[in-house]
């Protein structure tokens, strides 16, 4: 991918705001999502599309509603209403089912333990999509459609007929900046850092707030943790 990140051009205050906590020598990058803070605004999902130039109809990052519909709370038997959100993108599993099944090793564990894609090697068989229990991989079914003319992202566009997915904004990590979904969250609900460092903010929060992982029983060992709300959130 072309290294075209304009981080250098940012005003110092903005740069400082998105700065990555210094990782260890052998980092395991991961994320905590504070569901107490998430208000379901989809800012992280939309900025992901523009940061990574994700074409129309494809989303690397979505915000699912734990309710009856996108904007409808769940009603319990006693009539009380409850609404919460599950921001969902690649979980960057340590025991990733997708990397195991890829016939050509086009999806693999790369730097920082991230699950990455080699767009030039992918044969487009979509076996990784079959294997992924989280439904976070997206395929280039046709030529990319964009709302604006030309490419808009900070990374190279992906070719038709190949798979693509969340990279945790690897291009930003190279500039010591957190992923775009993290700095852009208006509620500060996403915390990114090095899980290999027990004193990092993400590790501390996962420990103290009893971070849970999605579909834990499948043994995929995700590196994204969900922090449960500490107070009752129903009406």
């Amino acid at each position: 991918m072309a290294d075209v990140s304009p981080v250098e051009a940012l005003p110092p205050a903005s740069r400082a705001y998105g700065e990555l906590e210094p990782p260890t020598a052998a980092p395991r990058f991961g994320m905590a999502v504070d569901t107490e803070r998430c208000l379901g605004c989809w800012t992280c999902a939309v900025i992901c599309k523009s940061e990574n130039d994700v074409p129309l109809g494809m989303w690397w990052n979505r915000v699912l509603t734990d309710g009856e519909a996108l904007d409808t709370p769940r009603q319990a038997a006693d009539g009380s209403l409850a609404l919460s959100f599950v921001p969902l993108s690649c979980q960057h599993c340590d025991n990733a089912p997708c990397t195991k099944v890829c016939p050509v090793g086009a999806t693999y564990h790369g730097e920082g333990g991230l699950v990455l894609m080699d767009q030039e090697r992918c044969i487009g068989c979509r076996y990784c999509m079959i294997a992924c229990p989280y439904g976070v991989r997206v395929f280039n079914w046709g030529r990319a459609e964009r709302p604006a003319v030309g490419e808009t992202g900070m990374v190279a566009a992906r070719p038709v007929g190949t798979m693509e997915k969340c990279t945790m904004c690897l291009h930003r990590l190279h500039d010591a900046q957190v992923p775009s979904c993290v700095w852009s969250c208006p509620a500060g609900a996403r915390i990114f850092g090095d899980l290999a460092d027990p004193s990092s903010r993400v590790s501390t929060l996962v420990r103290e707030r009893n971070g849970q992982r999605l579909l834990e029983e499948r043994g995929t060992e995700p590196k994204v943790y969900y922090l449960e709300p500490r107070r009752r959130r129903s009406l």
Partner: protein
């Protein structure tokens, strides 16, 4: 002890079938060529526009092509099982149809491999599977065994027909003769091949099952019964197709066998159908009994949800009906009844494979609203709520997918017809 004299190839049925191509055959072949051209055109169209011209989406990522791939892997079972069990278990009654059976296996496995190609987003990178093979991928195991199986089946066809080809001076005999010694060597080779072919057949169906059955992300597939069930369904559809093709080739005058063979094959097919039904029942009971949500839901969808009709198509129509027809010793005396039952069984196994895909893929593991992004922009409806996402997806193949499948099927019919017309299919009789 001296070996008994082997039958020498006779002059019967050694030359090409007819001195001139008969007009019906020519019309049939022309139709197939037209279908192949249409399929090839549809595939090029798909290559130009991407897989969006199919109805597969992020919400349903494997469709018609993989369905037919699984189905044809299963169909290829018939040949090598007939050929190798004749050798290994002394099932000599198979002998008259052994050449048709191995030819069927060769064509079916060729088609199975061919169906992979249009499913790929980048078919021009197919060789990456060998250049960058990731050995933990069941797909790499499967490509290996499919190629091995293709090699074995083609070798079988050649070995069984070679002496007769040599007898008529065909270049396909590759310079081998018809001496007693050559025939003895063939016989030894056939015996040796059977020892490799039977395990290869078992592996082929198991590995194809493991493409699906090892995926912890898909609870409906994640079951140890997957491989045995694939073997059982392969035996059903493979033998059923061999029966149909043997009867067709006999009807076309290219093969003689007496009617006594038909009830024997029909009875065997009934046993295969019963084992498939048993495994299916064992799987559903195990999944449904605890009432646990993950497995339970998939089973509920089969028994009470939108999948009830295809599920009944698989069980009542595809398994019970042919079993009932074939289990009766009186009914299976009639070749027409056996052919009907075999035809229904082939369709039933197809529906079985369809259910495997539909039920596992149409609802995502995390099915919270708004669901998965479809994967293509909705022309003219950008911004409409829900247009780009779905929590469930009812997949039906697009016309392009049907044209491509039709083209590959026509290729199979073409290969089989030409081979059945040219190759000597009659096994010499024992005296």
């Amino acid at each position: 002890m001296s070996a008994p004299a082997l039958p020498r190839p006779t002059g019967r049925a050694m030359g090409p079938a007819r001195p001139r191509v008969d007009p019906r055959l020519a019309a049939w072949l022309a139709t197939l060529i037209a279908l192949m051209a249409a399929g090839g055109g549809a595939w090029l169209y798909q290559q130009w526009n991407g897989l969006r011209v199919t109805n597969m989406r992020n919400t349903f990522m494997w469709g018609n092509y993989i369905l037919f791939f699984m189905f044809f892997v299963g169909l290829s079972a018939g040949g090598l099982i007939v050929a190798s069990s004749g050798r290994l278990f002394g099932a000599t009654r198979f002998k008259p149809i052994v050449r048709v059976a191995v030819l069927e296996a060769t064509v079916a496995i060729t088609l199975a491999g061919t169906f992979i190609v249009p499913d790929l987003g980048r078919p021009e990178r197919l060789l990456h599977i060998f250049l960058f093979a990731n050995l933990t991928s069941p797909m790499v195991w499967d490509v290996t065994i499919v190629l091995l199986y293709l090699g074995l089946s083609a070798t079988y066809v050649w070995l069984y027909t070679r002496a007769d080809l040599a007898g008529r001076g065909s270049p396909l005999a590759l310079g081998t003769g018809t001496s007693e010694r050559a025939l003895r060597r063939d016989d030894r080779l056939k015996g040796a091949l059977a020892w490799v072919a039977l395990p290869a057949a078992i592996l082929l169906h198991s590995i194809t099952a493991w493409i699906f059955g090892l995926q912890i992300g898909r609870t409906f597939w994640y079951t140890a019964v997957m491989a045995p069930m694939f073997i059982a369904s392969a035996l059903v559809s493979g033998l059923a197709l061999v029966i149909l093709l043997a009867l067709a080739v006999r009807w076309a005058g290219r093969l003689r066998f007496d009617d006594g063979l038909v009830p024997y094959l029909g009875g065997l097919l009934a046993v295969f159908i019963a084992s498939e039904a048993f495994l299916l029942f064992a799987e559903l009971l195990t999944a449904a009994y605890p009432g646990a949500p993950a497995e339970g839901q998939a089973v509920t969808r089969l028994l009470a949800g939108p999948y009830l009709v295809p599920f009944l198509g698989e069980t009542a129509f595809g398994l019970l009906l042919p079993f009932a027809l074939l289990a009766s010793a009186r009914l299976r005396r009639y070749p027409a009844v056996v052919a009907l039952a075999a035809g229904i069984a082939v369709v039933g196994i197809f529906v079985h494979r369809l259910n495997l895909l539909l039920n596992a893929l149409s609802v995502p593991t995390i099915a919270l609203p708004p669901g998965l992004s479809i994967g293509v922009g909705q022309a003219g409806s950008v911004g409409l709520p829900g247009a780009a996402f779905a929590t469930s997806y009812w997949y039906l193949p697009s016309p392009v997918e049907w044209l491509v499948v039709g083209g590959v099927l026509a290729l199979g019919a073409f290969l089989f017809t030409v081979a059945a017309w040219y190759l000597p299919l009659q096994e010499p009789d024992h005296h």
